[in-house]
Amino acid sequence: MDHSPDDLELEGIELDLFVEAMRRRHGYDFGQYAPASLLRRVRQLARSHGDGAISALTHRLLHEPALLPQLLEGLSVPASDMFRDPSVFRALREQVLPLLASWPQLTIWQAGCAHGEEVYSLAILLEEAGLYERSQIFATDLSALALERAREGIYPLRSAQQWSRNYLAAGGRHSLSDYCSARYGLLKLDGRLRRNVTFVQHNLVSDGVFCEAQLVLCRNVLIYFSDPLQQHCLALFRDSLARGGFLCLGLRERPDSGGATADFTPVDAALRIYRRGSTGSPGRPP
C-alpha cells in the first residue's frame, strides 16, 4: 500500500484502534510491542485478511472471534531454524550443559518457541549430553496455531541442508538425519524428541511465573517489545530461574540497555548467555 504523510497519521490511529480492540475484545495487549515491527505485521494481516485497511481488519477482529488464532499467529514470533546461530548451541553444549548436569532434575523453559525448531535443537543437545531423561522442557508461545505446528515437528525439506550444517557447526556428534525422516518434501522430527516436552500457551505480557527452571531460552522475542516490556520479561525470567540457572537471549538483543541484568552474570556476553546470581553455588537444593 502507498502512503502520503496524512495517510501515515490515519494509519497510526487505525493501529491504535486495532490494539485497543484486541485488548478489550480478547484480552491480548500489544500496546507495548515495538511499534515499527508491530505495524509491519498488522499491515500484512490487513492485506492477507482483507483489502489492506487496518480498520477493516479491526472490524473483523471485533465481529469474527474465530479469526483470533490466525491474527495471534501473525502477531507472534516468526519461524526460526534448527540450531540457528550454531555458536550459541555450541556454547550451550560445551559450557552450560556440563553445569546443568549437577542438578538431579532439569526444568527448561523455551519462551516464544514459534514452530519449535529450537526446541527440537535443544532436545537433541540434551539427548547427546545424556541429560534428556531427567529434563522437562516447557515450550511456550502466544499463538495456539504456532504451538500446533511445533507439536507436529514437520518442516519443509528445503531447510534440511542448512540445518544439517548448523547442527554440525554446533558440535553435533551424529548426523541430523539420525533424528528425522524425509518424505514427500517434508522433514519430520523423531517423535521421541518430544517425549519430555510440554507445549503450552503463555503470554509474556500478562502471564506470570509457572515453573522454577534451570535454563530459560528466549531468543529473538524481546526485539519485538518496547523497553518497559523487555524489562518486565527479564524480571519474569529472573523469577522463573533457580539460583545459578541460565538465561539465553538472541544474539542481537540488548538486555543491558535497561538495567535489569543486574541480577545476571554474563557467562558469554557476546552469545547472550547469562547466569542468575553471582555466587558459585551450583543451585538451590531440589
Binding site: H3, P5, A34, P35, A36, R40, A79, I223, R254
Partner: protein, 189 residues
Amino acid sequence: MKRPAAIVLGCSAGGPDALKTVLGGLDPRLPQAVLVCCHTASETVELLCGLLGRASRLPVIEAAEREAVRGGTVQVAPAGYHLLVERDLHFTLSTDPRVNLVRPSIDVLFASAAAAWRGALVGVVLSGANADGADGLRELRRLGGCAIVQSPGDALAGAMPQAALDRAGADHCVPLDAIAPLLNQLCLP
C-alpha cells in the same frame, strides 16, 4: 523538499564496492544519519563495517537494537535481521520472514525510515541483482523523500537499480561517481 534528515542506501551484488565509492566521497561534516542495507552471505557485517570504515571519513558501525540513530555516522543493518527505524528514531530489529528472499531487506528499511522521518530523507539504490529496494523506494518517494538511483548501465549488477527505476522512478539517475557529490550538495547545510 526540505533538507533531508537522513540518507538510506541499499545494495546487493556489487554493493560493497559501490558503497566504498559513495561513502568515500561523503563530506565528513554531514550531520545526517547514514543507514546502509547491503545483502551479504556472511553471518556478520563485521568485515563489511571494517571495509567501509577504511573507505569513509564518517565513522561506520553496525546498527544496534534499541540504539538511537546517530547523525554523522554510517550505520549498517546487521546480517540476518531486518532493520527498522522507530518514530522516536531508535532502531528495532526483526527476524520476520525474508522479504524478496532476503533479510535484511532494503524495502523494510526504506519503508520504516520513510515513515520515521516523514519523507525528509534521501534514498539511494545501488548495484544489485534482485528487485529488493524498489517498493521501499516507491514508498519513500510517495512520502516526499528524494530518490537517487545508480544508472543501471554503470552498475556491476543493474537489475536492482533498473527495478527501482521501473517501480519507483527516481529524482536523480546518475553514475556511481556522481552520487556522493550529489548527496553532499543535497545534505550539507
